[in-house]
Symmetry: C2
DNA sequence: CGAATTGTTGAGCACCTTCAAGCTAAGTGG
DNA sequence: CCACTTAGCTTGAAGGTGCTCAACAATTCG
């Protein structure tokens, strides 16, 4: 795990970049791991697994080995219900992790599928466990990532439990926008990798409702919508709406 | 479990029972921690914090120090929205843990309040971190508990995203029943510590709807309902309903 | 280019919410 | 101990939000 032959530079073809060379470097395991420690971590990570649109990363029921970090592209997590329909439980954008919900069990409780061509880092959980035994910061980071996931799910609970359809879509867009921004991408313009169906499932709405909302948001000059390409026009109002759809309308929300 | 100094018996007043003496012993940190290790864990746990009905364990925004395990009684977790109304995010029964969602932040993202007289063990997170650095099994267990929480939240997402009111209440009752059973209590008869309002919030429904459902379930001989005291009469049908309300009705669901 | 999948739009209706009133239970003070 | 107050629960009636069904448009893909 320590001694490294100079295999860092790979001839060509497969873009096998080490974490240090990866744009997502500070993002996957955010901070505080010093360089020596980091090399150990780098050593266990299996880099650049690539999936094409529609391919599965794992399926519900498969045995759990690794957690994953998204490099470029996007992934959806979902559970399939008895009657065949899916409930989308999360979208994973560049720099985000997935697979954490499986740690408790021997097998994955949900499936993960690429929404577009996506590359990921695979982190064998067994070895990550050993490693974080030795590297306190790593343990803390791991717990934080999991805690963050819990937090995210709970904010989703509020969304599904209390919010109207308007508020849900607004909150969804704000969330995506914020996450892109954190990763250094544009917060105003982005492409939604997922289908309207996926969005509807995630937000607990019918597809038709989501579709109607997009056109209405467009008419109200909140957004520019061209299929999957979204541009946020009135960020302030969208934020206000994400919290409370009734108060926003008409008069501008007070400008922060 | 073998050599014990006679410090087990405490003079009197404050019922300061060690974990070994606690009925929830194997439940909080389920398994596999050997005795020596366990004593270390036992050493950092602050036992028997007691709350009366309505008292807060912590409030949203307070700084995070500890996670908690419920001994007897029950706790609700909830976030308060801008407009004052609450979204209940979880109920915590004997043997279950709470506070995990705060690990990522310095402060608690939600509040926790006792639904009845409740005693808890407080586990300072800082020291638990150090300890699990030394005791691999403990680290694994901690991750598992968190992963389980994620899993639970995700099953709730499905509930709120896809299920009808009938299915939601049925699933809720099945969940409570199952959890009591796991802890060695009756799976058929139990008292719901929370108000109808709390249940409604948790399930994303109006209070009136929940109330109506209880009376309907009673009329259909699924349950006996006397205020907060519930007895499950037709467990099979309730289970079937929790998954798919339409298929269940009339004809018996196939018996497992 | 044609087939298939995905997205949009419209109309009607169902489920659940909202509003409103009465009821029960619990806690308080005289 | 009872009257009073208050909060919580139940029940009814009306209305709206979002769903279902259905047809059509647009996009993707072989």
């Amino acid at each position: 795990m320590d001694e490294k032959k100079p295999d860092k530079v790979i001839p060509f073809s497969q873009p096998k970049v080490s974490c240090e060379g990866c744009g997502m470097f500070q993002l996957c395991l955010p901070i505080g791991v010093d360089l020596e420690e980091f090399k150990e971590l780098d050593g266990i990570i299996q880099r650049h697994r690539i999936l094409r649109r529609g391919e599965y990363l794992y399926r519900a029921g498969e045995t759990f080995h690794s957690i994953y970090a998204v490099g470029a592209g996007s992934i959806k997590s979902f559970t399939s219900l008895e009657d065949g329909c899916e409930q989308v439980t999360g979208f994973h954008l560049p720099g985000e992790m997935l697979g954490l919900e499986a740690i408790n069990e021997a097998h994955h409780p949900c499936s993960a599928k690429a929404l577009e061509t996506t590359n990921l880092c695979e982190i064998p959980f067994e070895r990550l466990g050993e490693l974080s035994q030795r590297i306190p910061v790593l343990q803390t980071e791991l717990l934080k990532v999991m805690s963050k996931e819990i937090l995210h799910d709970q904010s989703l609970l509020v969304l599904l439990g209390k919010k109207s359809a308007d508020e849900r879509l607004a909150a969804f867009l704000v969330s995506i926008s914020t996450r892109y921004k954190q990763r250094g991408f544009s917060a105003e313009s982005f492409r939604l990798g997922m289908s309207r169906n996926d969005i509807a499932s995630y937000l607990g709405l019918a597809v038709e409702t989501v579709s109607r909302l997009f056109t209405r948001f467009h008419e109200e000059n909140l957004l520019q919508v061209h299929g999957k390409d979204i541009t946020i026009c009135d960020e302030v109002r969208l934020h206000a709406m994400a919290q409370n759809a009734k108060e926003y309308s008409g008069h501008n929300a007070r400008v922060q």
